[in-house]
Symmetry: C2
Subunit: 558 residues, 2 copies
């Protein structure tokens, strides 16, 4: 039997994973990787932390060409660009970017892992020195050199994960950061009230936010270096360099011209085995499309975690085995200074756009026992299908641990779990790790109260709208004087829970009332007292002042 | 309609939760709690951390009698002991321990939350001063006072969670700790190789372990204070005080004498709605039995987390609603100095005892990106049903984050997830939170390799046995010289992976070979090289030296 030829186009996560797994599946195969990059395997997600000085240069390069040769008997061709694929002859034309000249690579199986590239619009000044995207080790090193060498200010275009991670790391290096986001809030995939909490924290840490505006032009000085930028609104922003981090797009031109089908997301269409429409041709990683596990629709999730899984699946199938990659939930997590924020599944706005009949809750809770040192609040937002009670999605934000509960939700959503099941899960409990009822159990219980008609909540966004519309709503803060003075919703009157039975007489029973406390628990007790006292329209502010993103008033006015 | 009378016997987690939830469900009910304790609601799980000085006394008391009155309109009777229940007349006879005298409490619904009590055998010296169990605030305060006031050494009987947590906190206060465990290893519910890793860490931190022995007698001085203890093996252990932490048992006498059925675990038998065999009588918390979700058998899980959930379910049912508590997985987590260890579902020995046809893996993995500061190893052991591929249980140990993966497993096991599903879950990824492939995904992938016949592992226990039996096995350490010198399995010969193809000629193909590296990954690559070179019996040491609990050899001997 002739030696099976496996060709992988593209390195980094998906390509190298696919090649290495092919080696383990097929000890005798001829396995080659070609990549137009200078490095075969690097930790792209670590670039922000290299810029911040937390990661050393040598840690960014995960494996070398020599490693692949000696450890896995895989031949790697860096700075080799695949120009075209001939599916009929099963060949790829590959250009040597270093030495020049082209060569034809034969394959029995082809795995395409061409990745994604940052989107950089051709606005005036885009070609100035010190305008960067962040894709390669060289990009990271150039930005790193600037931050240690004279640059005092930076403009970041894009309020997504990379923009936020780099913003934090630049601030830590003493750089003044202005972040420009075209959408009305940063983290555009998140629901507004969650993103606003992160925005507040960015501002607390000195990041200037310019929202709802686009960078229209980058300005330069006489040496062709960046001096600043202007937004489409005419705002001038001084900056010594610009990082363009406004999204990436899949690199699919090689595939497209070879007749490989592109899906509606713009990435390469694949089936569950990571096969393209061409026989013996697979696509994996940031260039490949997959499925959203909640909606069942095509999805594109350019992330190292997905890339690794896809690479493994393609390799097993390419070597005659059988494996499937069922899809993604769009899970994501990001650290922004001392706040963490994560999501999985559908947000409220996505659930609405998809036409679900859903319910939401917003519930803050401490991440560890309330007495254990270092415990912090996290605020959980759940989105649940009203009819099936299936969990559709979750978002979690706060100074505490968010990655743990979001990954629990990942498991629950993947396995079609309901909020009823979530509420009863036997999560491991000890004070250094959790309260007796974890943030997810608490959120699930509030959701059950809501679905069962026991609890009526109002979100911070809805309350803000009511107040702006001048509606006559009685805001009742049920906390003690000290907590009230530390920060309350503007206009709230303080009536401590213990006095509410008595003092409810001073309120109007026929007017709407909203009870407010730290997290919603005491307020809900007050809510029940008022309802029991004959108040017709009572609600609890979901998430209390902890999750209220619009600014609190201080002092003991009332 | 007459006011519904709800009587709760017992406070703390389950009793107070049940009462508070009853109030929210039934605004008009007459709700009373009687407890023989001095405090109605306290953070028992925080006692070890109070002893260590991490938690203040006032943080231990969660809510007062006055809080229940003003906030929830619940009347609490502390230091009132329920002596008997008359189910026919629906009354309980209650003795006032403070003032003396008895009173009859009527009820429409009775919720029994009598908890559990430490087991203290009546060995000689058990009644000496300074022999403690750790159940009440007063116990914690007495031990706390001793540690700050002259005590230099302590004996802890019992190597379970409380014993370990207190051991850590006493060492931090400068106390010399000897821990005596009757079983051959601490954490007796865990599998041996996991528990041994924790044992090693306890010893590194100066805790003396006396294993496989029982405390037979506690010795005192002339003032009736503890001076030490003797084991059944005749070993003398000096100690200024003794903490007896060798398990708890459910407090069920009140229930039993009232004709309430006790289950095979010794706790009160309940159905999914937390009902006992008597009409309108519920049991919740540490005194109540539930079901194991994997085996379906009766289970007893005395933990605050379970107590809270049961309390809520009983309250909803007691007030005319409908809710169920499906059962537990025996989940647990404990911090021991800088190591964390957790489990859920079945261990290997439990799976064997239950007659499952199962497979196991042991896989170390970093908890964050390998370059992100502060990343640490955790070692995951999975137990999977071979036929259904359903996950039966997991144990995770290490300096890194263990509570997150264990709770993900809780969700996966609860929802009948398979290891195939686990391997593809879209966990949230960013360097501060996870590697691109998380510890669970890695462990699941190794399990898939094993189930699919691609991977043959050997556990540290099996290898130790082979070596002790004098079997002629070739140990091949596939790492570099530096790593080898830092610690290798005694008798292992170093052949770096890159040289293995060549140097395999120096090994005997017809003798068994075991490949060893840090975590099992490089060794597996070596394993495949040897198999490919014609070696007949090759295995990989699962978990590598990272999870090898029997002591490593240092130096570059070979």
């Amino acid at each position: 039997m002739p030696q099976k030829k496996i060709l992988v186009i593209g390195g980094v996560a998906a390509g190298t994973k696919a090649a290495a797994k092919c080696r383990r599946e097929s000890p005798d195969a001829d396995i080659k990787i070609v990549t137009d990059e200078a490095y075969i395997s690097y930790a792209g997600c670590g670039f922000p932390y290299y810029i911040g000085g937390h990661v050393r240069r040598e840690q960014l390069e995960v494996k070398t060409v020599a490693d692949f040769r000696t450890e896995s008997n895989i031949e790697v061709f860096t700075q080799h660009r695949a120009l075209s694929i001939d599916p009929a002859r099963k060949t790829a034309a590959v250009k040597n970017l270093r030495a020049g000249g082209s060569e034809e690579f034969r394959y029995d199986v082809l795995i395409i892992a061409t990745g994604a590239a940052p989107v950089m619009p051709l606005i005036p000044g885009h070609d100035l020195k010190n305008v960067f995207t962040l894709r390669t080790i060289d990009d990271a090193m150039r930005i790193g050199a600037l931050t240690g060498g004279g640059a005092k200010s930076a403009l970041i275009a894009g309020g997504g994960y990379i923009g936020l991670e780099v913003a934090e790391n630049l601030v830590q290096r003493g750089i003044q950061v202005t972040l420009v986001e075209a959408m009305p809030h940063i983290l555009p995939r998140f629901d507004e009230e969650i993103a606003l909490l992160v925005q507040n924290h960015l501002r607390e840490n000195g990041v200037r936010l310019v929202l709802g505006q686009k960078v229209a032009q980058i300005d330069g000085n006489r040496s062709g270096e960046v001096s600043g930028a202007s937004t489409d609104n005419g705002e001038k922003i001084p900056a010594d360099f610009v990082l363009w981090a406004a999204g990436v797009r899949p690199e699919v031109e090689l595939a497209r011209t070879a007749g490989i089908e592109i899906g509606p997301t713009g990435a390469i269409k694949t089936d569950e085995r990571m096969r393209t429409n061409l026989p013996d041709v697979y696509a994996v990683g940031d260039c490949a499309e997959t499925k959203h596990l909640v909606t069942g629709k095509p999805a594109w999730a350019p992330l190292g975690s997905t890339a690794n899984k896809m690479g493994r699946v393609a390799a097993i199938n390419a070597c005659g085995g059988h494996d499937t990659f069922p899809g993604v939930l769009g899970s994501t997590v990001v650290k922004v200074f001392n706040v963490n924020v994560a999501m999985t599944g559908l947000t409220e706005k996505e659930a609405r756009a998809e036409g679900y009949d859903f319910e939401t809750v917003i519930v803050p809770c401490r991440d560890k026992a309330h007495y254990y040192p270092g415990n912090e609040f996290v605020t959980t937002k759940l989105v649940v299908d009203r009819k099936t009670r299936r969990i559709l999605g979750g978002q979690i934000v706060g100074r505490g641990v968010v990655d743990k509960p979001i990954d629990i939700l990942v498991a629950a959503i993947t396995l079609n779990g309901t909020v009823d099941q979530l509420a009863k899960m036997d999560f491991a409990y000890a004070p250094p790790f959790s309260g007796a009822l974890s943030p997810l159990i608490n959120a699930a219980n509030v959701m059950l109260n809501k679905l069962n008609g026991r609890f009526r909540g109002i979100s911070s966004l809805e309350l803000k709208k009511m107040m702006e519309a001048g509606e006559d709503v009685q805001l009742v803060d049920t906390r003690g004087a000290e907590q009230y003075a530390a920060g309350h919703v503007p206009g709230a009157r303080r009536i401590a829970l213990g006095e509410l039975r008595e003092k409810s007489k001073e309120l109007a029973k026929d007017k709407p009332a909203v009870c407010i406390c730290n997290i919603g628990k005491t307020a809900f007790a007050g809510h029940l007292i008022l309802r029991n006292a004959g108040f017709k329209d009572v609600k609890t502010l979901e998430g209390g002042v902890t999750a209220y993103p619009f600014g609190l008033e201080k002092g003991a006015k009332k």
